[in-house]
């Protein structure tokens, strides 16, 4: 997937003069950008791939940040107008969560002063920090893995993706969902009905109910719903063959997953951890939860985000190991 294309989508939400500064960066730097940060009265900054660059007014990378362009109030106000499409009221709900999803599935994190009403965040004002996160939808991220997940043309293995943060867990999950939902060449797989519970709108990146990322043609997305509740809702309402969700961790989530498996639905989910041992040592999950999975996929970022470390089967036999 061409990241240049992605980044230009994000840059459209920045004021023109900042856009020109960023665009003047070298091609390699542009490719690597994962985040562009605006902080009031602080240097303009882009991060990505374990590095951080401050950007000068002439588009030069400034490692120290001394001569970098300093963000002023107008820059933030303009970006805010562009991000919410000149209409704060249309992103009311999103603002309560502190981020807005823009076209292309990119996330813009917003932070300032919270206005509280009845103990809940009503809205944000005095916006002074913005974080433009480039969505990395990588079509084909699951090419190596998908073969291990598909059991037969009309069934798959319950799969758990284990990975530390920032290693491409969500990206992988999204692409797996896309493949399973659309079906295709792999083992003559026919495509299955997928229900995606997207609690944090990270997988499908829905905005206004439309998934901004490609999640396949047989996928129903329940956006913004807590996982435990969402899983049960989807089983009842959408008759899924596969339940997909991101980052189980709490006991309720695991219980709901077990319920789904008992109902004969296949499950694909992810969890934080850097190895299979991490998963087995999780206190919040009991033995039953740990036995429902038939495939474990472990990721790392040894060779960049999304490096496939190992694939194990339900009895922890190694099916694939990175050499």
């Amino acid at each position: 997937m061409n990241n240049n294309f992605n980044i230009s989508e994000v840059l459209d939400y920045l004021p023109k003069h900042i856009k020109t500064m960023v665009i003047r960066l070298s091609k390699e730097s542009l490719q690597k950008i994962e985040e562009i940060r605006l902080r009031l009265a602080k240097p303009l900054c882009a991060t990505g791939c374990c590095s951080e660059i401050f950007i000068g007014a002439d588009g030069e990378a400034e490692p120290s940040g001394v001569n970098a362009y300093i963000i002023n109030e107008d820059d933030l106000r303009y970006s805010m107008q562009l991000v919410c499409n000149f209409s704060m009221y249309s992103v009311e709900e999103e603002l309560k969560n502190g981020f807005v999803t823009v076209n292309g599935g990119h996330r813009v994190g917003i932070c300032g002063r919270a206005v509280i009403e009845n103990g809940k965040v009503k809205t944000l004002k005095d916006i002074s920090y913005m974080n433009f996160r480039v969505a990395k939808q990588i079509i084909g991220a699951s090419d190596k893995v998908i073969g291990y997940i598909i059991r037969s043309p009309d069934s798959i293995y319950n799969t758990l993706i284990i990975s530390p943060p920032q290693c491409g867990k969500t990206t992988l999950l999204r692409d797996v969902i896309r493949k399973l939902s659309s079906g295709g060449e792999e083992k003559l797989f026919r495509g299955m009905k997928v229900s995606l519970i997207d609690e944090r709108s990270e997988v499908a990146a829905c905005s206004l109910g439309i998934p901004r990322n490609e999640v396949g043609m047989r996928t129903d997305v329940l956006d913004g719903c807590p996982k435990a509740e969402g899983i049960i809702m989807m089983i009842r309402s959408m008759s899924p063959e596969i339940i997909a969700t991101d980052e189980i961790g709490r006991l309720e989530d695991a219980n709901a997953i077990t319920d789904a498996v008992n109902a004969g639905v296949k499950v694909i989910t992810t969890i934080h951890g850097s190895s299979i041992e991490d998963f087995l040592n999780k206190q919040s999950l009991n033995r039953i939860h740990k036995e429902i999975f038939e495939r474990y996929v472990v990721l790392s970022r040894k060779n960049g985000a999304g490096t496939l470390e190992t694939v194990l089967d339900g009895k922890f036999n190694i099916l694939f190991e990175r050499i």
Binding site: P15, R77, Y78, Q81, L82, C84, N85, F86, S87, M88, Y89, S90, E92, K122, T123
Partner: protein, 173 residues
């Protein structure tokens, strides 16, 4: 003598027409203010119930209506979509200046329309609704003053034009 007659007729009819045009402008202003209310009510629905982003909302309202005010909204929407301005306020003000040139609205109306551009889109739906209500109350004042003007002066300008023409003719003759 004949030349004088024709000249006189020309002077009288010309100033008469000027008078009529001016009085028409007065009643047109009132009509446009009423139209403005209708258009803004449609926009309010789009904003407070539909939560439609402004570029889309303005465009769809302008499609459903006509007249200078409708063109004004279309103009703002175009500015926003093309990103010619960074803020709604700037796009709104720029288009309002154009509205002043193209419509019968007077400077005071335009200033009042401009002030709404400071608020539109800048808060949540609940708050937007309040501001729309406030806008209608102020609009009522403008409408009333326009109506009064029509009643008071329209007839006067109409006859004044002819009378002035006659006077000029008499003086010249």
């Amino acid at each position: 003598m004949l030349l004088k007659g024709i000249g006189g007729l020309l002077v009288i009819s010309a100033s008469g027409i000027l008078g009529i045009l001016h009085s028409n402008k007065l009643s047109l202003r009132y009509k446009e203010l009423v139209n403005l209310r209708r258009v803004m009510q449609m926009l309010e629905t789009e904003v407070t119930y539909g939560a439609t982003p402004l570029p889309v909302a303005l465009y769809s309202v302008s499609k459903k209506t006509e007249g200078p005010v409708s063109r004004f909204l279309a103009n703002v929407s175009e500015h926003l979509s093309k990103r010619s301005f960074y803020t709604l306020k700037e796009a709104w003000n720029d288009s309002a200046e154009r509205l002043l040139m193209e419509s019968s609205l007077i400077k005071a109306d335009i200033e009042f329309i401009k002030s709404f551009g400071n608020i539109l889109g800048c808060s949540d739906r609940e708050d937007q609704k309040k501001h729309f209500q406030l806008f209608y109350i102020q609009l009522r004042h403008q409408e009333d003053s326009a109506m009064e003007e029509v009643k008071r002066s329209a007839e006067m300008y109409r006859s004044l034009g002819f009378l002035l023409g006659m006077a000029v003719f008499v003086v010249l003759a």
